[in-house]
């Protein structure tokens, strides 16, 4: 039964990195440059796309229909900026409330209790099935179903009540709708993230004498963040754009205000452009933020972190510097010979 262990060269921990293969290139020979092979069809494609892009840019600049002067006049007016503020407010509130509820739902879905599991499942099933716009209209009309909401013990005495319409202004209905909708998606993302963390991590924490709750907070959650974040960021971005749906509730957010303005002056296209450009700017900012947050949570998941765009630029410049100086060196050597 003795295992005759196969003798093969194995790298031990401390072994130094293998020396680079000896290069015998004489130093006066010009260095060969490696060029990727190009397919002729690639060039045809590049040409076709380039023509289309040129036509589009040309159209943007020259077609009077875009009406850039009107765009410029409205782009940063007070009304638009205020509306943008409302849009951001809706996004932030919807995200925060949505993810808080999402965490609760995810915990319920992972709970050993079958009742909690089924309730969470049913919630997610229902809210993913109902279109957001339908839901929003429901919440907007909630006062029709329940005229007042009372605070007290369930089925017991009431400590006081408020008229539903006072509690749920249009804005309240919008935030509620967005958050409830968001929670269903957030719950699934969070649950998936938690499940993606290897069970061994929790066992290792138990063996170290760490109580369950802290195992979750200190070990599981930080690692789950790695798979939660990209999806969560996509959710935030789509929620941000999704706020435009709230215009059906006549809330003065960006898209609604733009519609109001072009309703008055009939300059539809430039005003849609105003909204579009703002959506693009903010989505871009969110994406940049997403990149850095993800990078932060990627610590330890790979041997080296990808460089930030700034670092990449710096190495490019450095590489450019050395390549020019090397070229200069070769020339002098050539001259010397």
């Amino acid at each position: 039964m003795t295992t005759t262990s196969a003798v093969r060269p194995v790298a031990t921990d401390q072994q130094p990195a293998a020396a680079p293969p000896p290069t015998t290139r004489p130093d006066h020979a010009p260095a060969l440059t490696v060029v990727p092979r190009r397919n002729p069809w690639t060039w045809v494609g590049v040409a076709a796309v380039a023509v289309l892009v040129a036509m589009f840019v040309n159209g943007l600049a020259t077609n009077p229909g875009w009406d850039w002067p009107t765009f410029a006049r409205y782009f940063a007016t007070e009304t638009v900026i205020k509306a943008l503020g409302t849009t951001i407010q809706l996004t932030v509130l919807g995200t925060v409330a949505g993810f808080v509820l999402g965490v609760v739902l995810a915990a319920m879905r992972l709970s050993p209790n079958a009742f909690l599991r089924s309730v969470a499942w049913a919630y997610i099933w229902a809210f993913r099935s109902i279109p957001l716009i339908v839901q929003l209209l429901f919440w907007f009309n909630i006062a029709y179903l329940y005229q007042s909401i009372s605070f007290g013990l369930p089925f017991g005495p009431s400590f006081g009540s408020v008229a539903t319409n006072d509690l749920f202004g249009a804005l309240g209905a919008a935030v509620l709708g967005l958050a409830l909708h968001q929670a269903a998606y957030a719950a699934e993302i969070i649950r998936g993230g938690i499940l993606s963390v290897d069970e061994g991590q929790r066992e290792a924490a138990s063996a170290l004498g760490i109580p369950r709750r802290r195992q979750f907070l200190r070990i599981v959650l930080p690692q789950a963040m790695r798979s939660i974040l990209p999806n969560a960021a996509n959710e935030v971005i789509s929620l941000f754009k999704g706020t435009s749906i709230v215009s059906v509730l006549a809330i003065p957010e960006l898209f609604y205000q733009v519609q109001v303005i072009y309703g008055r002056n009939s300059r539809v296209v430039p005003l849609l452009l105003v909204a579009t450009v703002w959506y693009i700017i903010l989505t871009t900012l969110l994406s940049v933020g997403q990149y850095y947050v993800e990078r932060h949570f990627a610590r330890g998941s790979s041997r080296t972190l990808p460089p930030t765009p700034l670092q990449r630029l710096r190495t490019r410049l450095a590489a450019f510097g050395t390549s020019t100086s090397r070229a200069a060196g070769t020339t002098t050597a050539g001259v010397a010979r």
Binding site: M1, T2, T3, T4, S5, A6, R8, V10, A11, T12, D13, D198, G200, Q201, E203, A204, A205, S206, A207, L208, G209, I210, P211, R214, R218, I219, P222, Q223, R226, F297, R299, G300, S301, S302, R303, T304
Partner: protein, 336 residues
């Protein structure tokens, strides 16, 4: 002292632990040795509390911990598959058990420095586990397990995922470490060489039962049964007995073989065999043989003896067995 009494663990109708009882003396390095699926991990994880027993008890240093969760058993555990906390640096991994217990920072730092030095990772404190080699990761895992001053250290095939050279280096390192820190250690392994090399006591497991417990020499030289004998080293079926291949001596001359064999009391006799193959194994040579009866067996002899005998394939030799201690009766089911 760790005492396991009548431990039973069933998975459905399958008994992963079949009434196992075992004493592990304080300060020892005990190996749980057995083939894959024999219940080694189940036994170790039951001691750790990572697995609950269906019946039976576990006590650690006199304290009944059968119903305690792992975090209250005073153990350190190292897993085969690196369970390093991937989002923490080496330093934070090792310190984690202490930080979570809110020990003063100075004390934690001192302890971590000390341990990183013992495991030879002082230069790596700010790396993440992904930036370490497999061997370094397991040494980090060991430091992390030792940081909380466990009463017992439990290792589940800690070197199983490493390559052969690193594995031998690390197990000798573990032996020295144990001589330094003296913590009661239980090592699970399926590799008999590893168990013989590092452990001062070995428990051999098979099909959820313990076959034999003892020190390496006893187990190797006086195996309780065929299974233990076969698992601790290679065996040759010689006549109607099991013999270690290096306890077989080959002679050219039948008369010499018979004369020498007569001096070995209770020996299985002299077997005439044809040399089928001579395989150099480095210091030793393995000679594959075929007896008159048609049974095949192998003898392991030194290179010098092989040279003296001038063995060639197809030639006839006379084999006899020495070293009676390792000779046991063949289980009829295994006989050829």
């Amino acid at each position: 002292m760790i005492t396991v009494t009548d431990a039973r663990k069933n998975y459905g109708s399958f008994a992963a632990l079949d009434d196992v009882s075992l004493d592990i003396p304080s300060g020892s390095l005990t190996a749980l040795l057995g083939p894959s699926g024999s219940g080694k991990s189940t036994l170790l994880r039951s001691i750790a509390g990572l697995e609950g027993l269906d019946s039976g008890t576990v006590t650690i240093e006199g304290r009944d911990v059968t119903n305690e969760p792992p975090q209250r058993r005073g153990i350190g555990f190292v897993f085969q598959h690196y369970a390093a906390f991937k989002h923490m640096t080496v330093r934070d991994n090792v310190a984690f058990g202490l930080t979570i217990r809110k020990r003063p920072k100075a004390e934690t730092d001192k302890k971590v420095d000390e341990l990183l030095e013992i495991v030879g990772l002082d230069g790596f404190r700010n790396r993440y586990p992904a930036q370490l080699s497999g061997g370094q990761r397991q040494r980090m895992a060991l430091a992390r397990a030792l940081a909380v001053d466990p009463q017992v250290l439990l290792l589940d095939e800690p070197f199983g995922a490493l390559d052969a050279k690193v594995r031998t280096d690390l197990r000798q390192w573990l032996r020295r470490l144990h001589d330094e820190v003296h913590v009661t250690t239980v090592l699970v392994t399926h590799d008999q060489e590893e168990a013989l090399d590092v452990a001062d006591r070995i428990a051999v497991l098979n099909k959820g039962r313990i076959e034999q417990v003892g020190d390496p020499v006893t187990l190797y030289e006086r195996p309780a049964n065929d299974f233990v004998m076969g698992f601790l080293g290679s065996v040759a079926h010689f006549g109607d007995q099991l013999v270690r291949p290096h306890d077989i001596v080959l002679e050219r001359d039948r008369a010499t073989a018979l004369a020498l064999d007569a001096k070995v009391a209770g020996s299985p006799g002299v077997v005439e065999a044809v040399v089928e193959r001579v395989v150099p194994l480095g210091f030793e040579v393995r000679v594959d043989l075929r007896a008159d009866s048609g049974a095949r067996f192998a003898a392991q002899i030194t290179r010098r003896d092989a040279a003296d005998l001038q063995l060639r394939e197809g030639e006839t030799v006379h084999a006899r067995a020495v070293g009676r201690s390792s000779v046991v009766e063949v289980d009829p089911a295994l006989a050829i």
